[in-house]
């Protein structure tokens, strides 16, 4: 299975341009440069692609990292706190992107502490606390009694804490 991942939001050489960062990854993975331009367009960084990453905002870095993870056209995408540092428009864009990725048959695994944001995006939830799996269910099943994901999380982890 082809898999893409963003593990840290700031894994860039500050003096290298966004385009060259992606091109270096593309060369290592034998992916044509045309795919790099395609992804720069997708994450709306074409205009800033020639600039050094040093001048990028956190949101731009998040999107550049996402473009890197998408280079190999993955079926499974792993994101760690993807909404961190994004402005409201960026969060909205990310939500739309994740949704459409999933709708096209892809799987996105998101690890996040921002439960309110997660509740707007995901289909399926795994609640993990201190390395222990507390619950795994569809989001709509978990919150069917009118509870929020946050309430559910606090409830579950408090009840089973030692």
């Amino acid at each position: 299975m082809r898999c893409g991942a963003v593990l840290e939001s700031n894994d860039f050489h500050p003096a290298r341009s966004g385009r060259n960062h992606l091109r270096a990854l593309a060369l290592a993975a034998r992916i044509p440069y045309a795919r790099v331009e395609e992804l720069l367009d997708l994450v709306e960084l074409t205009g800033a692609a020639g600039r050094r990453v040093k001048g990028y905002s956190l949101g731009m870095r998040q999107r550049l990292g996402l473009a890197g993870a998408l280079l190999g056209d993955p079926e499974l995408l792993i994101l760690d706190e993807p909404a961190n540092g994004l402005d409201p428009a960026g969060v909205h864009w990310l939500r739309g992107f994740i949704r459409s990725f999933a709708d096209r048959g892809g799987t996105v695994v998101i690890s996040s502490h921002v439960l309110a944001e997660v509740a707007l995006t995901v289909d399926h939830v795994l609640i993990i606390d201190h390395g222990r799996l507390f619950a795994t269910a569809r989001l709509d099943e978990l919150t069917s009694r009118g509870e929020t994901l946050e309430g559910m999380y606090l409830d579950l982890t408090a009840r089973q804490a030692p």
């Binding site: 860039f12 990854l25 290592a28 280079l71």
Partner: protein
């Protein structure tokens, strides 16, 4: 390995510091060669072997700067975390070693040093043609 090496070479070319260092390397090597060539009296250059020895100072300076570039590319990968995407993007390369990219940079350096050493060897072992 070839693909990873090509990526590493692009990384070398894509920061101003590295381009500056390459230019410095070229400039210093040329300067050393010129000073050495023009500074020697003609009678010291009467055999092919001696003429080829003119390359020696350039080889030494070039090797030193290559070592600097190699060390910088290794440490930059760790310092800026670019080692993570570098590893993620080439999973089949060497799963047993967490130091793929620095190793590649070191290989680049070793290749350069070998080339430099070969040039030096050729310079000192060439037969006279005069």
């Amino acid at each position: 390995m070839i693909a990873v090496l090509r990526a590493e070479l692009l990384k070398q070319r894509s920061t101003r510091t590295n381009l500056g260092l390459f230019a410095t390397m070229l400039g210093l090597v040329l300067l050393a060669e010129l000073l050495h060539s023009f500074g020697l009296p003609a009678r010291d250059l009467n055999t092919a072997a001696r003429q080829l020895q003119l390359l020696d100072p350039g080889v030494i300076i070039g090797t030193l700067l290559a070592a600097l570039l190699g060390a910088m590319s290794i440490t930059a990968e760790i310092r800026h975390g670019t080692i993570r995407p570098s590893m993620l993007v080439s999973p089949g390369q060497k799963p047993d070693t967490p130091v793929l990219a620095p190793a590649v940079a070191a290989i680049l350096l070793a290749v350069y040093a070998a080339a430099a050493a070969t040039t030096g060897w050729m310079a000192t072992n060439r037969r006279d043609v005069a």
